[in-house]
């Protein structure tokens, strides 16, 4: 039936407007469909219709609302989208209405009571728009006018439903996303890693700080990715443990993905209802690595401080000990002269502890002296001042002369820090000085005495020297005298003898017997006198020590034979026998041969002189005990009286017997012999029996040694 197009169009237009009005404000999809279907029923001669919507998440086409149909059947209508070839599903994608009648699969099973209907896809008019649903109209076909209305309606419905479903979901999602993104943006400003995790621990949101720790890209190094993986593990573990524990603040040790260093975080977690019914956990990681390090440093510094403190204390104690043990008073004053530190000796001088008024006064006096000393130091603005001060011992009142040395101590800014004053007690020094003076004086006196003594000594030495000289001179004079005497005595005597002998030889003419006899006696007496003089001079020389020893090496037997031969003429041939007995192992003699000869000659000649008949024996032997050589002369002569045994060695001590031998000795022979023997280190002994004989033994050390002489 055709209406007038304008009017019809106008009517159709206003009817559409009405629908739009009705749809406006409806936010429930099933109501939209009902309203739409109701309108459609007016516009078309249909009595039944239903709409099935596409539920993507459920993957099916489900009935949503209907018109003139059983609501349960609508609700029960269910077609899986997987069955793509199902004609109904195919119709979904068609842009044209698709008629259905019995024989086509799917025609039955709809809530429509008839099998003949038209299926119209409800889809938004966008290029890639997905169908929203399927509208099934209970009419076998549609004419063009109706078709156009239906198509318009489908479009409207699509728009409406889309608006209701997708945009709200998209909105929610987008809105949610937008919320998250803007939150993230805000949180990126915070350097601490912040994460929002859902109930399953999945990260919903992570700020830049968190991403640096917990996300990695493909192009990152192996090490970095591993670090990140580790961090994720550690973080998740921590997150889950917070869920269990009550505490929502704990420490987490993570790894810096960049340099691999350990990072310590304090993790604060807080549950939050992000969306209605959606619980999330907000985790904030505060990097306390530095904090921890700072704390550690603080601890260390504290420890160091304590150590320094104790060391300083120890040093100070030590200083006090040192100061206390110093004998010299030491005091430290500030720039105003106030005493900061003293040692015991200083205290003694500068404190009185109220012992007595006198002590108090003395302390004040000392204080005043020191103060003026210090003010001089500051006035001079010199760094050091040395002066001699006179203080008083508060207790004894004794004067204490001191040498004060004050040194200003400046700190590194050049400001006066303190002044150290050392007082050096001079009493000792002064005492020492006076002692030194005394010592010097004594030493000088001593020196003088020594000098005197030395001079005396020198004088005495000089005296002795002169005396020695005089003695020497005397001795020399003596020798000279001896020599002169000897010469003077002998010369005239020689002349006497000479003349006598000349006369005896007949040089002065022939002699009468009596003249001859007289001359003979003259001659022999003169000779005797000469012998005596010679002997005397010998003795004198021995006494004067003027007889030098001339050691010679010789054999005693040779000497004995020599002397025996020389004295042979003296032996009275018939009546006296001369024997020589030489002992064994006689050592070679090292002594003055001449003197030994003289001694022996004397002994032998004596023996021969005094023996009229019998024998004269010469014995030689070496005596082991004494280490001396014994030369003994035995005779069977007249012998010597016992009384005279000790006098015979004295000058002129010859025994006074009636018997006078033909050749009288000088009386000096034996004494000379003994002296000579002693000179050679030996001795002469005598043993004799009157009338029977004598033994004279000359004992001699074989080697002459000067000490013994």
């Amino acid at each position: 039936m055709k209406r007038s197009t304008v009017a019809a169009q106008a009517a159709a237009g206003s009817a559409r407007l009405d629908l739009l009005d009705s749809l406006q404000g409806l936010n429930q999809s099933d109501r939209c469909v009902e309203v739409t279907l109701a309108w459609l029923a007016d516009a078309l001669p249909i009595e039944q219709a239903f709409f099935a919507a596409v539920y993507e998440e459920r993957g099916c086409l489900e009935g949503l609302a209907g018109l003139g149909v059983d609501p349960d059947a609508v609700a029960g209508f269910h077609l899986p989208l997987s069955d793509r070839n199902h004609p109904l599903l195919v119709a979904l994608t068609s842009s044209e209405p698709v008629p259905f009648h019995s024989g086509i699969r799917g025609a039955e099973g709809t809530p429509l009571s008839a099998d003949e209907f038209v299926a119209v896809s409800v889809c938004r008019k966008a290029a890639d728009a997905q169908p929203i649903g399927l509208l099934c109209l209970g009419t076998p076909s549609l004419d063009d006018a109706h078709r156009e209305s239906v198509e318009w309606l489908a479009g409207i419905l699509a728009t409406q439903l889309a608006a209701l479903w997708y945009s709200s979901a998209a909105d929610t999602a987008r809105h949610r996303q937008q919320r998250l993104e803007s939150i993230t943006e805000i949180l990126d400003v915070v350097s601490d890693p912040i994460l929002v995790s859902d109930a399953d621990g999945r990260t919903l949101l992570a700020n830049q700080g968190a991403e640096n720790l917990l996300s990695s890209e493909e192009d990152m190094s192996e090490g970095r990715r591993r670090a990140v993986a580790l961090n994720n593990m550690l973080f998740s573990a921590s997150l889950f443990s917070t869920h269990d524990a009550e505490a929502n603040r704990r420490e987490v040790l993570l790894v810096d993905p960049v340099d691999g260093h350990d990072l310590l975080f304090e993790m604060l977690t807080q549950p939050l209802e992000f969306e209605p019914g959606e619980e999330v956990t907000v985790s904030v990681l505060r990097n306390v690595t530095d904090l921890q390090r700072a704390m550690q440093e603080l601890e260390d510094n504290y420890f160091r401080l304590r150590t320094a403190e104790s060391r300083t204390r120890a040093e100070r104690d030590r200083l006090e000990l040192i100061l206390g043990s110093t004998v010299d008073p030491i005091l430290v004053t500030d720039s105003e002269g106030k005493i900061e530190l003293t040692n015991p000796p200083a205290e003694r001088l500068l404190t009185s502890e109220g012992s007595s008024i006198a002590a108090e006064r003395r302390v004040q006096g000392n204080d005043a002296v020191l103060t003026s000393f210090h003010s001089k130091l500051y006035a001079d603005s010199s760094q050091r001042l040395r002066d001699q001060l006179s203080l008083i011992d508060p207790v004894s009142g004794a004067e204490v002369p001191v040498e004060a040395i004050a040194t200003r101590v400046v700190d590194r800014y050049g400001e006066d820090s303190a002044t150290v004053t050392v007082l050096h007690d001079l009493t000792e020094a002064m005492e020492k000085a006076s002692l030194y003076e005394q010592v010097k004086e004594y030493s000088e006196r001593l020196e003088d005495r020594v000098r005197e003594a030395t001079a005396e000594l020198a004088q005495q030495n000089e005296l002795l020297r002169r005396q020695a000289l005089q003695l020497e001179q005397a001795s020399a004079m003596k020798s000279q005298f001896l020599a002169n005497a000897s010469h003077e005595l002998r010369t005239p005597l020689n002349a006497i003898i000479g003349h006598a002998q000349l006369m005896l030889e007949g040089i002065a003419g022939e002699l009468q017997p009596r003249q001859e006899e007289k001359l003979q006696r003259l001659d022999s007496n003169a000779q005797h006198l000469l012998a005596i003089i010679n002997d005397l001079l010998d003795i004198t020389r021995i006494e004067a020590g003027k007889l030098p020893i001339r050691p010679d090496r010789f054999e005693l037997p040779d000497l004995v034979s020599e002397v025996a031969a020389e004295l042979e003429p003296l032996v009275p041939a018939e009546s006296v026998e001369l024997n020589i007995e030489l002992g064994p192992d006689l050592p070679t003699l090292e002594t003055d041969r001449k003197k030994v000869k003289q001694i022996f000659s004397n002994l032998l000649s004596n023996a021969l002189k005094f023996t009229v008949e019998g024998h004269v024996s010469i014995h030689t032997r070496f005596d082991d005990d004494s280490g001396t050589v014994h030369l003994a002369v035995h005779d069977t002569g007249i012998g010597i009286e016992e009384d005279h045994l000790h006098t015979i060695f004295e000058p002129f001590g010859q025994s006074e017997t009636a018997f006078r031998p033909k050749q009288p000795g000088t009386g000096l022979g034996l004494s000379i012999c003994r002296r000579l023997a002693v000179l050679l280190g030996g001795e002469i002994r005598v043993d004799s029996t009157l009338g029977e004989g004598s033994v004279f033994t000359f004992e001699l050390p074989p080697v002459y040694r000067e000490e013994e002489g």
């Binding site: 002998r490 020689n494 000479g498 003349h499 002998q501 000349l502 040089i507 001339r550």
Partner: protein
């Protein structure tokens, strides 16, 4: 009876007694004798007379015996003269000194005339 063949002996001694005894004795025994009483005279007479033997006392005035001996030995004319030194000392070193200075022998004083004569004879014989 003076016999030149026995030899001329010059006796030098400042002691007159001694000199005379020696001279008398030797003359008696046939020697020709001359005398001098000091060193100076000794040198002069020795050079002049060229005696066969010189009896020289070592201690002499003017020039002592040692010097006389030296000079005579130094003089070619008198270098070969026989000299017997007369000395009172008989010490060994003195003896050696006398020999060193050029004397041919030493006679000790006091002179025993017989002994002297013997030594003179021996010395002359040895020449």
């Amino acid at each position: 009876m003076v016999d030149r063949e026995k030899g001329l002996i010059l006796i030098v001694d400042d002691y007159e007694e001694g000199r005379e005894i020696c001279a008398e004795y030797l003359a008696f025994h046939g020697y020709e004798v001359a005398t001098a009483e000091d060193g100076e005279e000794a040198l002069a007479k020795a050079r002049e007379l060229l005696p066969d033997l010189l009896l020289l006392d070592l201690a002499l005035p003017k020039v002592d015996g040692w010097e006389v001996a030296r000079r005579l030995r130094a003089d070619e004319a008198t270098a070969d003269l026989l000299i017997l030194a007369l000395t009172a000392h008989a010490l060994d070193d003195l003896r050696q000194r006398a020999l060193d200075v050029g004397c041919d022998g030493v006679v000790t004083k006091p002179v025993i005339p017989k002994e002297l004569e013997r030594q003179v004879r021996e010395a002359l014989d040895s020449k």
